[in-house]
Amino acid sequence: MHRYKFVLYRPIQFLPVLFGISIVTFVLVRLIPGDPARVLLGTRATPTAIANIRSQYGLDEPMWLQYFYFVKNLFHGEMGKSILYKIDVLKLILTRIEPTLVLVLTSVTLSVLIAVFMAALAARNHGRFADHAVRVVSTAGIGFPPFWLGLMLIILFSVNLDLLPVSGYGRTLGDKVAHLILPSLTIALSLSTVLTRSLRAAMVEGLRSDIATAARARGMPERVVFWRHVFPNSMVPTINLLAINIGWLIGGTVVIESVFAIPGIGQLLVRAIFSRDYMVVQGVAMVLACATVLINLIADIVTVAADPRVKL
């Protein structure tokens, strides 16, 4: 099926992007004033000790040489060694990536479900109370800072109702699910507001569209008109919106991981930035870039599958 040919060439197109990201990260993290040695040594840092650590990690080499080593390592599938954790960055990332990916996936799924439910409710009751309620909730929802929302959910569901774990990430499947509900919900509540708005608009539009009229004119009940015709047609623009938001979403998990103590890549990244763990920042940036591209690719595949007209 040549409509899906982009799956083949997209990765090739992505190579220069990856190259760009490697340079940007590399230069950026080194432009930040401050020193990784400071974090290792705490308040006991002395100039000699700092110099010692710099030379150990090759940070005293010229920038271009460091970059050369970085790229060379990449070709060997390595990303250097973490200054803070003293192990190979790739290995470090691999131990931390699962919770983040799972969190992103569950939040996306959840926000889509919420958005579809809310938007359908609103659109099918267009102009009535349910519609206004959904609009108020979804516009106001954008305004809640996720870290505040997260804490409120914890206080409500974990402390007061004692239904769900407060924080962390589980081991077994059931455990993971239990741990992921609140953080995913927190992200989903923010993300779904954006989606709901767009989806509701598309559905209202769809219910008025000729497609819906045509379906009604052949005697289809409203339920069929909505779910078989209006809904599939309104999903297409929403998928695109979702894809554009993926980068933001991955960025947004950082705060959520911190609130819910999820040992993911976001927390790793923030700590790495603050402690100037250059190799880790570089590595995580590269991995997240790849993840973003992958998710975008999936979104494109879904779009193509959902709308036979789309060619990429």
Binding site: H2, R3, K5, F6, L8, Y9, G127, S209, D210, I211, T213, A214, A215, R216, A217, R218, G219, M220, P221, V224, R228, H229, P232, N233, V236, A306, D307, P308, R309, K311
Partner: protein
């Protein structure tokens, strides 16, 4: 006429406007439809034809509309009072609808076949395989050549004509007693239009359907209907048997409608027939525009890996000469390359090979000078009046901008000139303040013409500039062109579907088919004595307002 299957009495529909008096959209319309009858519903744009039909199945286009009064008797049942659930079995099952614009009414993300089987499964309670078999049969019946395969294809994979047929198929799949066809052929060229009308007639014969056919083309009505009803401003002003109504219309509007039908010989035409047209070729040695062997190719889709798969040759080796002061028509079916040729001439689409010469400068010679000259001395009127105008600018701003950029008249004189231009196209001066969205199609079209005239062009290319208009407005615009030709020595290249208009307006006609120019000559020659078989088919497909001149003969249905 036997007992009517559908009897409408005093149907009144109003539109409630927030903060305004309700507007009467349908005013006491009473109409009967007999079994197996074809009723033609004609009338000017906005008269309520579509609304009437949608009211029959209670699918009003706006929440603010309501049925104020009246009865819609389908057998024993009054649809005006029926419950919403009760309507479910009426819609589709008893009254089927074919919508004016198949592109927007077909679900783009559902295969054609599934849209057909949906009705079959719902109304006839067939299981999936049975519905599929049945749907394939219907697809074959409405003229799909390979229904097994096409069952799984999506609407966008079909041409306009095919989509219209699919739409008919969808309506038929519910096996209705009454079929409402709302302008089923407006967007199509005559050959396809003829096929579709023929198809409807065949189905009526086979199934004993009653049909309401909405159109603004009296020719179509004359060819297909048993009875005619004429609407104007929400009222049914006249109805009666076809022949009687066409022969002796009562209402003055019906008379205008019939009188302005392009297939009626116009005075200009008569004159042309008497005095043979001046031979421009002889009088001038050099043509104003010369098109030599132009090819335009478009890269096909999906060629990012380098392979040029399926490139489209939209214009193939077209050659053409136009003399100053001449009106030349280009006709041909949809997709034959008319617009592409026009754009290529004006340098708006790059040409693949060949040459265009305009008043001495040529594209191959000095492209820079050629384009500069073209931009100053030619103008184009675009097919779609709404899309051709910048929606954010008022008509006045738009005209002033052109004048300013052209820089031929001093800044201070611009407002006066804008006024003159509006006068020229017979738009009131107050239109300078209006934006396209607040204007009707015909007004937009005239604004577009005014913009073209602002350039003070020697050549105007008008691309289907009348297709969207109803006949009365059409006639106005054609008059404008004629006047301008006389007054300003304008040269006009006129592209149209509607052969009748071309015949009426143009000195010479060029016929295109699949990117090639298959025939050209004076209007008289081409219309009276076409040599090319394609041209002959095209001309025969023109529906004549005379019901006794029948539609495209059955034998020709296979071609085109």
């Amino acid at each position: 006429m036997s007992a009517p299957v559908l009897a409408v009495t005093d149907l009144t529909v109003t539109l409630n406007r927030p903060g305004g008096a309700p507007r009467l959209l349908l005013d006491r319309v009473s109409l009967d439809l007999g079994k197996g009858e074809v009723l033609g519903l004609v009338g000017e744009s906005g008269s309520g034809k579509s609304l009437f039909c949608r009211t029959l199945v209670r699918l009003l286009p706006s929440r603010n509309m309501q049925i104020e009064n009246g009865r819609i008797m389908l057998g024993e049942q009054d649809l005006a009072q029926a419950s919403e659930t009760g309507m479910l079995s009426v819609r589709g099952g008893r009254i089927g609808m074919i919508f004016q614009n198949p592109t927007s009414h077909l679900d783009p993300v559902m295969s054609i076949g599934n849209q057909l089987s949906e009705g079959l499964r719902y109304h006839q309670k067939l299981d999936a395989p049975a519905a599929r078999r049945q749907a394939i049969a219907i697809l074959r019946q409405v003229g799909f050549p390979d229904p097994e395969r096409q069952f799984d294809a999506y609407p966008h994979e079909f041409s306009g004509g095919m989509r219209q047929r699919a739409m008919i198929g969808v309506a038929l799949s519910c096996n209705p007693e009454i079929l409402i066809a709302d302008e089923p052929t407006t967007a199509l060229d005559v050959t396809i239009q003829a096929q579709i009308l023929q198809l409807l007639m065949d189905i009526r014969r086979e199934r004993g359907l009653s049909i309401i056919l909405i159109t603004h083309d009296l020719g179509i009505v004359a060819q297909t209907c048993d009875r005619i009803a004429v609407m104007r401003e929400g009222r049914l002003i006249e109805q009666g048997r076809k022949r009687e109504l066409l022969r002796s219309p009562d209402h003055f509007y019906t008379k205008t409608l019939i009188g302005s039908h392009p297939s009626m010989p116009s005075p200009a035409m008569e004159k042309k027939a008497l005095t043979s047209p001046p031979d421009f070729r002889a009088t001038r040695d050099k043509p104003l525009l010369k098109v030599e062997d132009v090819d335009v190719c478009f890269a096909g889709a999906g060629s990012l890996l380098g392979k040029q798969s399926g490139s489209v040759r939209a214009v193939a080796g077209a050659s053409l000469e136009i003399m100053a002061g001449e009106i030349v028509g280009i006709v041909g079916e949809s997709g034959s390359g008319k617009s592409t040729l026009a754009r290529a001439i004006l340098g708006l689409t790059p040409i693949t090979s060949g040459n265009v010469t305009f008043d001495g400068t040529s594209l191959r010679g000095d492209p820079g000078a050629f384009l500069a000259k073209l931009r100053r001395e030619t103008a184009m009127v675009f097919q779609d009046p709404y899309n051709a105008l910048n929606p954010r600018m008022t008509v006045g701003e738009m005209l002033a901008e052109v004048l300013k950029v052209q820089g031929r008249i001093p800044q201070v004189d611009i407002p006066a000139r804008v006024g003159e231009l509006l006068d020229l196209v017979e738009l009131g001066r107050e239109f300078a303040e209006r934006r396209p969205r607040s204007m009707s199609g015909g007004q937009c079209q005239r604004a577009g013409i005014a913009r073209a005239l602002a350039v003070n062009p020697r050549l105007i290319i008008a691309d289907e500039s009348t297709a969207a208009l109803d006949v009365t407005i059409q006639a106005q615009i054609l008059d404008l062109f004629r006047t301008l030709k006389e007054k300003m020595q304008l040269t006009l290249l006129f592209i149209a579907h509607d052969l009748a208009i071309v015949r009426n307006l143009c000195d010479r006609v060029v016929v295109m088919n699949r990117g090639q120019i298959v025939e050209q000559g004076t209007s008289l020659q081409v219309f009276e004595d076409p040599t090319d078989s394609y041209t002959q088919a095209l001309i025969r497909a023109i529906p004549d307002i005379d019901p006794d001149k029948s539609l495209l003969p059955l034998a020709d249905r296979e071609m085109a």
